[in-house]
C-alpha cells in the first residue's frame, strides 16, 4: 500500500508545503540571516555580523525593561489566573444546579479577540479612573494591573475548563476514603485532590506562561506601551523596533531571534515537565 500512496506525494503534500514555505520556512531562514545584516527591506541586506545583537541591549532600545515588565506580568498572571480558575473549577464540580450556565458564561471572554478585548477594557478602566481625573496611560501601575485584570478575565474560563476536566477524573472513592480516615476538607484538597490533578496544573501553568509571555494584541490595545514605553511587553517592543524606528530593522530582527530562543527554551522545559509526569503515572 505504501508504494501506491508514495506516488501521490505531490497531491497529498505539495499544497500545504507551498503555503508552509511562504508563511514559515522561508521567512524563518531569512529571519535568522537578516538578524546579522543591516537592511530596510528584504532585498537590500548587508552582512554586518553580531553588531545587531550588541545593539539590542543598549538602553535606548528598552529591550531589558520590556523583558523585565514581561517577566513580572507573566509571573503575576500565572499565579492569579490559575488560583482563580482552580477555585472556580472546584465550585463548579459540586454537581449543583446551574453549573452549565456558569461554565458557559465564564468561558465566553476567551473567544473574543485581543484587540476588541483590549479596547473594551480600556474604556471600562478609563471610566473608573475618570472619577479620579486620570487615565490608564498616566501611570505604569494602572497599565500593569489593567493588563493583569484583562488577562484574568480572558483566560480564567479557559483554564477553568481544563481544571474541571481534571477534577472530574479524580476517583470519588479516593475522596470518600480520605473522609472516612478523618481528613479535613483542607487536607483532602492539598493531599488528595491537588496531587491527582497535577497534570492539568502543569498544562495550565505552561499555557498561561506562553500566552502571557507572547502577549501582543491586548498590550497594543490597552496601553500601547504608555506611559513612556513603561508598559511595553517584548512582542510590542520588537514590533515597534521594526515599524516605528527606521534604520533599526536589523536590531528588531536580532531581538526577534532572542525572543524566539527564550520561547523555545520554555517549550523544551514544558516538554520535559509533561514527559516526566507521564512516566510517573
Amino acid at each position: 500500500m505504501e508504494k501506491t500512496l508514495k506516488k501521490y506525494f505531490v497531491i497529498f503534500t505539495v499544497p500545504t508545503l507551498i503555503a508552509f514555505a511562504f508563511a514559515f520556512i522561508a521567512p524563518f531562514l531569512m529571519g535568522v540571516y537578516l538578524s546579522f545584516c543591516k537592511f530596510t527591506t528584504i532585498k537590500n541586506a548587508q552582512w554586518i555580523g553580531f553588531s545587531n545583537y550588541a545593539a539590542v541591549f543598549g538602553s535606548s532600545q528598552n529591550f531589558l525593561n520590556s523583558l523585565l515588565f514581561t517577566a513580572m506580568f507573566t509571573v503575576v498572571a500565572i499565579i492569579t489566573i490559575n488560583v482563580f480558575a482552580f477555585g472556580i473549577a472546584l465550585l463548579l464540580t459540586r454537581k449543583m444546579k446551574g453549573t452549565n450556565l456558569f461554565r458557559t458564561i465564564f468561558f465566553m471572554p476567551n473567544l473574543i479577540g485581543g484587540i476588541v478585548l483590549g479596547y473594551t477594557w480600556q474604556q471600562m478602566i478609563n471610566a473608573v479612573l475618570y472619577k479620579y481625573e486620570t487615565t490608564i496611560v498616566s501611570s505604569a501601575k494602572y497599565g500593569f494591573w489593567g493588563l493583569v485584570l484583562l488577562m484574568n478575565w480572558q483566560m480564567i474560563g479557559y483554564m477553568m475548563i481544563i481544571y474541571i476536566a481534571g477534577l472530574q477524573n479524580v476517583p470519588t472513592e479516593l475522596i470518600e476514603a480520605a473522609k472516612i480516615d478523618g481528613a479535613t476538607a483542607k487536607q483532602t484538597l492539598f493531599k488528595v485532590t491537588i496531587p491527582m490533578v497535577m497534570p492539568s496544573i502543569t498544562i495550565c501553568m505552561f499555557l498561561t506562561l506562553s500566552n502571557s509571555f507572547k502577549l501582543f494584541d491586548q498590550n497594543l490595545a490597552l496601553t500601547n506601551g504608555a506611559p513612556m514605553n513603561k508598559t511595553q511587553m517584548l512582542a510590542l517592543n520588537i514590533y515597534k523596533t521594526f515599524y516605528d524606528k527606521p534604520g533599526f530593522e536589523g536590531v528588531g530582527q536580532a531581538k526577534a531571534v532572542i525572543f524566539f530562543i527564550i520561547v523555545a527554551l520554555i517549550a523544551v522545559i514544558q516538554l520535559r515537565a509533561t514527559r516526566s509526569r507521564e512516566v510517573q503515572q
Binding site: 500512496l5 497529498f12 508563511a23 449543583m96 473574543i112 520561547v263
Partner: protein, 283 residues
Amino acid sequence: MKTVSDNKKGLNAVIFCALTVIAIVFLYPLFFILINSFKGKLFISKDPFALPGGETFSGITNYVNGFTKTDMISAVGYSFFITIVSVFLIILFTSMTAYYITRIHSRLTSALYYMFVFSMIVPFQMVMFPMVGLADRFHLKNPIGMCILYLGFGAGLSVFMFSGFVKSIPLEIEEAAMIDGANPLESYFKVVFPILKPTAITVAILNAMWIWNDFLLPYLVIGVGTEYKTIPVVVQMLVGSNGNKDMGALMAMLVVAIIPIIIFYLCCQKYIIEGVVAGAVKG
C-alpha cells in the same frame, strides 16, 4: 443526618450566590459597551455607568456613525470570507498531508513532521518582517493571499493534531479499500477522512477562532490603505489613528465585532469547549 444535609444545602446556597456575583463580573464589560453604544458620545465619558435613557439615549446614531466612518460592513464580509476559506483549505490540505507523512515512513516525511511541530513554538515576531516582504513580492496582499498564508501558519498545529489521530486508525480499513480497487485519493476521501471527522471539527474550531481574531497578520500584510480590511484592523484604525476619538462609534463597533463570536459560541458551544480542551492538551 438532617443537620449534615442542611449544612450542605446552606453551603451550596452560599456558593451559588458567589458564582452569581462572579458571573455578573464576567458579563459586566460586555454589558458596559452595550449600554454605552446607545448613549450620546458626550454622555459616555460623563456618566459611563448609567443606563441610557431620556436625553442620553441616542438610538442607533453611534452605529450609523461607526458604519459610515469606517469600512466595518465590508470588514465583516472579508473577515467571514478569509476565515471560512482559510479553515476549509486548512482542513482539506493539512489532513491530507498529515495522512501522507504518517503512513509513509521515510526520512523526508519524518523531517517534515518535525518541521511542522517546530513551527508551533516559533513566535510570530520571528518571521513577521521577512514574511511581509515575501507576501509583497509574490502579490499575496489580498484576501486569497491571506488564505494561503493562513494555510501555512495553521499547518503546524493542524498537521500535528491530524497525525496524532491518523496513527490510531487501523491500516486494515484502508487496505480493504485498496484491494477493492480504490486509488489512494478515493480511499482517503471515502474511508479515512470520515473517520477523521471529530479531529477535523476540533482543528476547524481552533483555527476559526484564531483567524477570526487575528490582528497583526492582516494589519501588516493587507495594511490599512486597502479595501480588504478585517474586523480587528478596522477596530484598531478607529481608535489608533485619529486624535479626536468618537467614543460612541467605538462602542458601537466593538458591539458589532463581538456579536458574531457570541452567536457562534452559543450555537456550537459543546464543540468549542471540547475542541479547546483537546487543543490545549495536545498543543
